[in-house]
């Protein structure tokens, strides 16, 4: 008899369900932590403007830090875990590269969001300083492609197929949506085409197809 796999056990949640729960917890907890971090930095800033944090400010900040700790603990506590199963070397390498990409991208995105130059939003067209532009371009044009290429070398053919299919669907979505939006804006029905919104739409479609083809 074979050892039980998650897919063989009807009582176990499917891998897709586990991943959705992880994504929900990660996104929800992550947004909560970012919100709390912003709250702390804003409160500390206003306290400094008033001449420095007093005892009440200190207690309040400690309470909010404790709340952040509880959120992090909750994420860890409720995080769905699978049993220890062997993982192929190439899968481990691919996972490490994903973690590296997140470790590089998240703090930078967080800092960009907090900086007033970025206007706190991905869709802002406000001017940015040369320093922010240079670092962002370095990430997008050098680190991004390099990590993606290394990751592409490590994934197996099944995941590569899912990724290719996602790319194909996303490319067609871009091909059909962009001219339609462009014409609609010329007719005065929609605002001017927003490249960053199109980028997000393409990325979401690509990721969704990849996710479904890989895990379902």
């Amino acid at each position: 008899m074979t050892k039980p796999d998650r897919d063989d056990l009807t009582t176990e949640p499917t891998e897709g369900a586990v991943l959705l729960r992880q994504a929900g917890l990660g996104l929800g907890g992550g947004i909560a932590l970012i919100f709390i971090a912003g709250m702390i930095s804003g409160y500390v800033g206003s306290a400094l403007e008033r001449g420095g944090p007093d005892l009440f400010d200190g207690a309040l900040i400690a309470g909010v830090v404790l709340l952040a700790g509880l959120v992090a603990l909750g994420m860890w506590w409720f995080w769905p875990r699978s049993g220890r199963e062997p993982v192929a070397p190439r899968v481990q390498s691919a996972r490490r590269l994903v973690v590296l990409a997140i470790a590089l991208g998240l703090p930078f995105g967080f800092l960009l969001g907090l900086s007033e130059e970025g206007s706190g939003t991905l869709f802002s067209n406000a001017p940015v300083s040369a320093g922010i532009a240079a670092i962002s371009m370095l990430m997008w044009l050098i680190l991004g492609p390099l990590i993606t290429w290394l990751w592409w070398q490590k994934i197996d053919e099944h995941e590569a197929g899912a990724y290719r299919e996602g790319a194909l669907v996303a490319a067609h979505a871009y091909l059909f949506i962009t001219p339609a939006w462009w014409l609609a804006s010329r007719a005065g029905w929609l605002p001017q085409i927003e490249p960053m919104l199109m980028l997000v739409a393409v990325a979401v479609i690509w990721s969704a197809v990849w996710f479904v083809r890989r895990y379902f």
């Binding site: 008899m1 074979t2 796999d5 897919d7 199963e85 062997p86 899968v91 197996d156 053919e157 099944h158």
Partner: protein, 64 residues
């Protein structure tokens, strides 16, 4: 394409993860091959055949 991967794996008492590790692919790839959602490439089919010490046509059935 039908295949006997799950039966062959069962005969060796391997989990999907253990077979995946031996083939240097993800567990999801093994699951997709077993359920017929993914047809392996020729190089991977040869790796599977070598691992089970069987000819490819005894593992995969292209008639289905």
């Amino acid at each position: 394409m039908k295949n006997r991967l799950k039966v062959l794996r069962a005969m060796r008492n391997w989990s999907q993860a253990e077979l995946a590790e031996r083939l240097d692919v993800s567990r999801q790839a093994v699951n997709a091959i077993e359920t017929g959602k993914h047809d392996p490439s020729l190089p991977l089919a040869f790796r599977i055949a070598r691992l089970f010490e069987l000819p490819i046509e005894e593992i995969f059935d292209d008639e289905a």
